[in-house]
Amino acid sequence: MAFKTIFISIILEALPFILLGVLLSSFLHVFVSADTIRKWTPKQPWLGIPFACLLGIVFPLCECGMIPVVRRLLRQGMPLYVGITYLLAGPILNPVVFASTYMAFRAQSEIVYSRMALGFVTAAFIGWVIYRFVSGLPLKSSPAHGANHHHHHHHEPAASAEYSGGTGVQLFSLRRWGSVISHASDEFFEMGKYLLLGAFLTAGIQTILDRDILAAVADSSWTAHLFMVGFAYLLSICSTSDAFIATSFQGIFSAGPLLTFMVFGPMLDFKNTLMFLAAFRLRFVLLLLCLITITTLTFSIVWEEWVLDWLKINLAVR
């Protein structure tokens, strides 16, 4: 019965965030034109990437809400590398996650800052790789939108063309809000099924996986880091609460693997791979998967080796 408790609790916890995500995404779809987004996004990558990394401070969404929003932004003309950078950095570099990490690691502020910095560096690096090496938009055309095009051709373009003028004036149009809600429920069902599957499997893993095996893994640095990647992937908890899970491992694991857990988890986990697959083409998802895994692992090991101790001493002196 513990399975049910965890399964339902993950769904209940994620519901507000995924709803916020789909509502925001639908709002962007209906009210904000592609032109506006293109105008607001910096053109140069050296500006665009930091911009995307810090966008999470203004739009603090966690990973469940993030994917529908980013998919929408990409459809509306945000460059791919900016979208992906936001997708990766957003769930880490945002005030909600900072607060929860700070709460969890009150004693070791170096971990809190390390998490934020590593999130920034990793996302920026991946964004740069995508800027250099990926061209085209690897978005999947979703069934719902295919149908839209099929039936009334005027509908989808209308969203950007007809509304692109004075959007502010029509903010109170009832029909417009009706279509926000309608889009939101389309996306809710599209994204929700992956959330449900993720919650189902996570609950299964949490009730089956024994934590005693972990201590053996924690011995060597490499296996500890690798294990944390795998664990974060399977556990699929929201980035707003994963810091608390990380603290519960403190006795067993050192700060490095915990950082890996807290940087990798928000960027990539089981639940959000499924959501990625709903939004992006398979090949791109695989590329992203490899990129994220290799980059976070390398960066976090390097960070542990050379930066963490230095940071710790400097913060302690203060």
Binding site: P16, M103, H152, I245
Partner: protein
Amino acid sequence: MSEASKTSIHALVRAIILFGFTLYILYLNEQGTLNYYIAPRMELYVKLAGMALYALSIQQALHAYRSWKHRTVDQSCSSCSSAPQGTWWKHTGIYMFFLFPLALGLFTPDTALGSQLIERKGMNFAASSNLQSSAPKPNSAVLQDEADYQQPQTQPQQPEVPTTSGTVTDNTFQASDGSSSNDRDDHASSGDDTAASSMEQPDNQLIDDLTVSEGSLTEEELALLFPEDNALFAGYAKYARTVYNDEIIEVPEHSYTEVLTTLDLYKHTFAGKSIRISGFVYKPDELESDQFAISRYAMQCCSADAAPYGVLSSYPRASSLEEDSWIEVTGTIQTTTMNETEVLAIEVLKVRSIEAPDDPYVYPNFDFGL
């Protein structure tokens, strides 16, 4: 079947599912079992989500009605989307998947997490381990003997000696070590017998010397025992001072983990004091037959992140206690060694069985020690 009537059926099914989730949230709220799944500070968001779901379901229902009415006419409603593509069995599968948690939620009893899951989650016997930079490791044993009861205050300033330690870390380490021995001199010269006696307690040994609890201490003595010299521990030190003279130290629900952390931080100083604590019984295989753990789950957001906290208790009639039953325990604080870590323990004097509390979990108290 026409496209419009398909759309209508889809919208209807969606409306029902969305409304189902709204009802489920309402139902949990009415039953008072929402807190089995979600921390109180998250409940507002879940309720708001329930309202949003309700709005979505109303819209879908209207959409279903409109599509049905227009099913013979050419569909011209521009604000509504049409039926998703795909075969009917695929959609049925997906909708069933959405109905599954609802069915599971409504037709099986709501239960809070219990001892069953502790083995998987891993029990936290040392509440203060979150505050200390790392669990004591065998090679740092010397350091611990030296610092002994002052360890909580001085440890954060001492960077862990990393395996690849450079000269800089070594220096810092030396410096703080020196200051900690100065502290000790201060205590010794103040003639504080209690402090001295607890300091001389050898590590890893059960303290059954009850003289520590005799008489109550003055403000100054308390200030020496629990100095507020470190911002990190100030809250705990402050709390420790307010309860040290209590006849029985209570572990209240509203700051359960915080009080346990305080006691665990200053376990050598508190050894011998009386304690009253409640929780459920947990008896894993690795404990002796006269031992059990009195435990609570501490929850941050939802039960997926709930972490079990426990205090090792020794009680001759431990075998008579039923696993998962709720009890209130009165006993004496001790320390004991578990998996090479020194932890807080209770020698149980009295056990009283109690009703399971309305809220099975405990939550972090962010106002603690302010």
